[in-house]
Protein backbone atom coordinates (compact mmCIF):
# COMPACT_ATOMS: atom_id res chain seq x y z
CA UNK A 1 0.00 0.00 0.00
CA UNK A 2 1.39 3.38 -0.96
CA UNK A 3 0.10 6.87 -0.07
CA UNK A 4 2.27 9.75 -1.25
CA UNK A 5 2.24 13.46 -2.03
CA UNK A 6 4.40 15.05 -4.70
CA UNK A 7 5.06 18.62 -5.83
CA UNK A 8 6.31 17.48 -9.26
CA UNK A 9 4.30 16.52 -12.37
CA UNK A 10 3.80 12.74 -12.71
CA UNK A 11 2.72 10.23 -15.36
CA UNK A 12 -0.27 8.13 -14.25
CA UNK A 13 0.64 5.48 -16.84
CA UNK A 14 4.03 4.86 -15.23
CA UNK A 15 2.24 4.34 -11.91
CA UNK A 16 -0.23 1.88 -13.45
CA UNK A 17 2.58 -0.08 -15.14
CA UNK A 18 4.26 -0.57 -11.75
CA UNK A 19 1.01 -1.29 -9.95
CA UNK A 20 -0.29 -3.96 -12.36
CA UNK A 21 3.01 -5.84 -12.63
CA UNK A 22 3.66 -9.28 -11.06
CA UNK A 23 0.16 -9.97 -9.80
CA UNK A 24 -0.95 -13.52 -10.46
CA UNK A 25 -4.06 -13.60 -8.25
CA UNK A 26 -5.37 -10.06 -8.84
CA UNK A 27 -8.05 -10.24 -11.50
CA UNK A 28 -8.97 -6.57 -11.42
CA UNK A 29 -7.11 -3.25 -11.32
CA UNK A 30 -9.14 -0.03 -11.38
CA UNK A 31 -7.58 3.42 -11.56
CA UNK A 32 -8.75 6.99 -11.44
CA UNK A 33 -6.73 9.98 -12.63
CA UNK A 34 -7.96 13.49 -11.89
CA UNK A 35 -6.67 16.11 -14.34
CA UNK A 36 -6.63 19.90 -13.92
CA UNK A 37 -9.20 21.45 -16.28
CA UNK A 38 -8.56 24.68 -18.14
CA UNK A 39 -12.31 25.52 -17.92
CA UNK A 40 -12.00 27.16 -21.36
CA UNK A 41 -9.30 29.54 -20.13
CA UNK A 42 -11.03 30.47 -16.86
CA UNK A 43 -8.41 28.52 -14.88
CA UNK A 44 -4.77 29.11 -15.67
CA UNK A 45 -3.28 27.39 -12.61
CA UNK A 46 -4.64 25.24 -9.80
CA UNK A 47 -2.88 25.51 -6.45
CA UNK A 48 -3.13 22.62 -4.01
CA UNK A 49 -2.01 22.86 -0.41
CA UNK A 50 -1.61 19.98 2.04
CA UNK A 51 -0.65 19.71 5.71
CA UNK A 52 2.47 17.56 5.38
CA UNK A 53 2.40 14.52 7.66
CA UNK A 54 -1.21 15.05 8.69
CA UNK A 55 -2.53 14.76 5.14
CA UNK A 56 -0.75 11.47 4.40
CA UNK A 57 -1.82 10.06 7.78
CA UNK A 58 -5.49 10.95 7.24
CA UNK A 59 -5.50 9.45 3.74
CA UNK A 60 -3.72 6.39 5.12
CA UNK A 61 -6.55 5.79 7.60
CA UNK A 62 -9.13 5.83 4.82
CA UNK A 63 -6.89 3.64 2.67
CA UNK A 64 -6.84 1.06 5.50
CA UNK A 65 -10.64 1.25 5.70
CA UNK A 66 -10.92 0.70 1.94
CA UNK A 67 -8.61 -2.33 2.05
CA UNK A 68 -10.72 -3.95 4.73
CA UNK A 69 -14.16 -2.95 3.43
CA UNK A 70 -13.52 -4.05 -0.16
CA UNK A 71 -11.03 -6.87 0.46
CA UNK A 72 -8.37 -5.19 -1.64
CA UNK A 73 -5.09 -6.89 -2.50
CA UNK A 74 -3.36 -3.50 -2.74
CA UNK A 75 -3.87 0.19 -3.41
CA UNK A 76 -1.81 3.21 -4.40
CA UNK A 77 -2.58 6.91 -4.04
CA UNK A 78 -0.43 9.75 -5.34
CA UNK A 79 -1.65 13.33 -4.86
CA UNK A 80 -0.05 16.38 -6.36
CA UNK A 81 0.48 19.57 -4.31
CA UNK A 82 1.69 23.01 -5.36
CA UNK A 83 0.92 24.79 -8.63
CA UNK A 84 -0.66 22.60 -11.32
CA UNK A 85 -1.10 23.51 -14.99
CA UNK A 86 -4.28 22.60 -16.95
CA UNK A 87 -4.04 19.04 -18.29
CA UNK A 88 -1.64 17.90 -15.56
CA UNK A 89 -2.65 15.01 -13.28
CA UNK A 90 -3.74 16.08 -9.79
CA UNK A 91 -4.46 12.70 -8.27
CA UNK A 92 -3.98 9.02 -9.12
CA UNK A 93 -5.73 6.18 -7.30
CA UNK A 94 -5.23 2.50 -8.14
CA UNK A 95 -6.96 -0.47 -6.50
CA UNK A 96 -6.29 -4.20 -6.93
CA UNK A 97 -8.82 -6.92 -6.08
CA UNK A 98 -9.80 -10.44 -7.04
CA UNK A 99 -12.83 -9.24 -9.00
CA UNK A 100 -13.87 -6.04 -10.71
CA UNK A 101 -16.78 -4.90 -8.53
CA UNK A 102 -14.53 -4.52 -5.45
CA UNK A 103 -11.79 -2.74 -7.43
CA UNK A 104 -14.25 -0.25 -8.97
CA UNK A 105 -16.12 0.44 -5.74
CA UNK A 106 -12.95 0.95 -3.70
CA UNK A 107 -11.56 3.39 -6.28
CA UNK A 108 -14.86 5.30 -6.31
CA UNK A 109 -14.96 5.34 -2.47
CA UNK A 110 -11.40 6.65 -2.22
CA UNK A 111 -12.04 9.45 -4.73
CA UNK A 112 -15.25 10.52 -2.94
CA UNK A 113 -13.23 10.77 0.26
CA UNK A 114 -10.36 12.65 -1.35
CA UNK A 115 -12.76 15.16 -2.91
CA UNK A 116 -14.60 16.10 0.26
CA UNK A 117 -12.68 14.99 3.37
CA UNK A 118 -8.97 14.74 2.72
CA UNK A 119 -6.84 17.60 4.10
CA UNK A 120 -6.22 19.58 0.91
CA UNK A 121 -7.05 23.18 0.08
CA UNK A 122 -7.49 24.13 -3.52
CA UNK A 123 -7.30 27.54 -5.14
CA UNK A 124 -8.06 28.38 -8.76
CA UNK A 125 -6.02 31.13 -10.40
CA UNK A 126 -7.48 32.66 -13.57
CA UNK A 127 -7.68 35.89 -15.58
CA UNK A 128 -10.46 37.11 -13.27
CA UNK A 129 -8.45 36.54 -10.09
CA UNK A 130 -8.23 33.67 -7.62
CA UNK A 131 -10.73 31.76 -5.53
CA UNK A 132 -10.70 28.92 -2.99
CA UNK A 133 -12.69 25.85 -4.01
CA UNK A 134 -14.86 23.99 -1.52
CA UNK A 135 -16.48 20.59 -2.09
CA UNK A 136 -19.73 20.83 -4.04
CA UNK A 137 -23.10 19.56 -2.81
CA UNK A 138 -22.56 16.71 -5.30
CA UNK A 139 -19.21 15.88 -3.69
CA UNK A 140 -20.87 15.65 -0.26
CA UNK A 141 -23.76 13.58 -1.65
CA UNK A 142 -21.28 11.25 -3.38
CA UNK A 143 -19.41 10.66 -0.15
CA UNK A 144 -22.57 10.05 1.85
CA UNK A 145 -23.38 7.06 -0.39
CA UNK A 146 -20.77 5.14 1.61
CA UNK A 147 -22.16 5.99 5.08
CA UNK A 148 -20.06 7.37 7.96
Amino acid sequence: MSVRLTDAPFDPGALLSDFARNRTETGAVATFTGLARAEAGATTVLELEAYPGFTEAQIGRIADQACERFGLHDLAILHRVGRIAPGDPIVFVATAAGHRRAAFEACDFLMDYLKSRAPFWKKEHGPSGERWIEPTAQDHADRERWGG
Binding site: E49, F54, R117, P119, W132
Partner: protein
Amino acid sequence: MARVLLFGALRDLAGWRERRIEAASVSALCAVIGQEDAALGEALAGKGVQVAVDQAIVRDDAVLADTSEVAFLPPMSGG
Protein backbone atom coordinates in the same frame (compact mmCIF):
# COMPACT_ATOMS: atom_id res chain seq x y z
CA MET B 1 4.34 29.29 22.98
CA ALA B 2 2.25 27.15 20.67
CA ARG B 3 3.10 27.02 16.99
CA VAL B 4 -0.04 28.10 15.07
CA LEU B 5 -0.60 27.09 11.43
CA LEU B 6 -3.29 28.44 9.10
CA PHE B 7 -4.39 26.70 5.88
CA GLY B 8 -6.37 27.61 2.78
CA ALA B 9 -8.61 30.67 2.86
CA LEU B 10 -7.75 31.31 6.55
CA ARG B 11 -4.15 31.99 5.62
CA ASP B 12 -5.15 34.46 2.89
CA LEU B 13 -7.50 36.21 5.29
CA ALA B 14 -4.88 36.44 8.07
CA GLY B 15 -1.98 37.40 5.87
CA TRP B 16 0.24 34.92 7.71
CA ARG B 17 0.80 31.18 7.59
CA GLU B 18 2.60 30.41 10.83
CA ARG B 19 3.11 32.21 14.15
CA ARG B 20 4.00 31.48 17.77
CA ILE B 21 1.28 32.51 20.19
CA GLU B 22 0.97 32.03 23.98
CA ALA B 23 -2.30 30.37 25.07
CA ALA B 24 -3.36 27.64 27.51
CA SER B 25 -6.14 26.15 25.36
CA VAL B 26 -7.54 26.27 21.85
CA SER B 27 -10.42 28.52 22.94
CA ALA B 28 -7.98 30.88 24.71
CA LEU B 29 -5.84 30.93 21.55
CA CYS B 30 -8.89 31.84 19.44
CA ALA B 31 -9.69 34.68 21.86
CA VAL B 32 -6.13 36.05 21.62
CA ILE B 33 -6.25 35.95 17.82
CA GLY B 34 -9.76 37.49 17.76
CA GLN B 35 -8.66 40.46 19.86
CA GLU B 36 -5.92 41.26 17.41
CA ASP B 37 -7.88 40.48 14.20
CA ALA B 38 -11.65 40.30 14.65
CA ALA B 39 -12.34 39.03 11.11
CA LEU B 40 -9.87 36.19 11.53
CA GLY B 41 -11.25 35.35 14.97
CA GLU B 42 -14.72 35.05 13.48
CA ALA B 43 -13.42 32.93 10.61
CA LEU B 44 -11.66 30.51 12.99
CA ALA B 45 -15.00 29.93 14.73
CA GLY B 46 -16.73 29.54 11.36
CA LYS B 47 -18.71 26.55 10.10
CA GLY B 48 -16.57 23.68 8.89
CA VAL B 49 -13.28 24.86 10.44
CA GLN B 50 -11.57 22.01 12.28
CA VAL B 51 -8.71 22.32 14.73
CA ALA B 52 -5.81 19.86 14.98
CA VAL B 53 -3.37 19.81 17.88
CA ASP B 54 -0.19 17.89 17.17
CA GLN B 55 -1.88 16.52 14.03
CA ALA B 56 -4.96 15.11 15.78
CA ILE B 57 -8.40 16.72 15.42
CA VAL B 58 -9.51 18.16 18.79
CA ARG B 59 -12.41 20.08 20.38
CA ASP B 60 -12.16 23.78 21.16
CA ASP B 61 -11.50 23.23 24.87
CA ALA B 62 -8.34 21.20 24.18
CA VAL B 63 -5.42 22.17 26.39
CA LEU B 64 -2.16 23.40 24.79
CA ALA B 65 1.40 22.74 25.86
CA ASP B 66 4.31 25.00 25.12
CA THR B 67 5.41 22.73 22.29
CA SER B 68 1.94 22.22 20.77
CA GLU B 69 1.39 22.60 17.04
CA VAL B 70 -2.11 24.01 16.44
CA ALA B 71 -3.55 23.92 12.93
CA PHE B 72 -6.79 25.58 11.78
CA LEU B 73 -8.28 23.62 8.89
CA PRO B 74 -11.02 25.20 6.74
CA PRO B 75 -13.30 22.95 4.62
CA MET B 76 -11.15 20.51 2.68
CA SER B 77 -11.21 19.67 -1.01
CA GLY B 78 -8.73 17.46 -2.81
CA GLY B 79 -8.66 15.53 -6.08
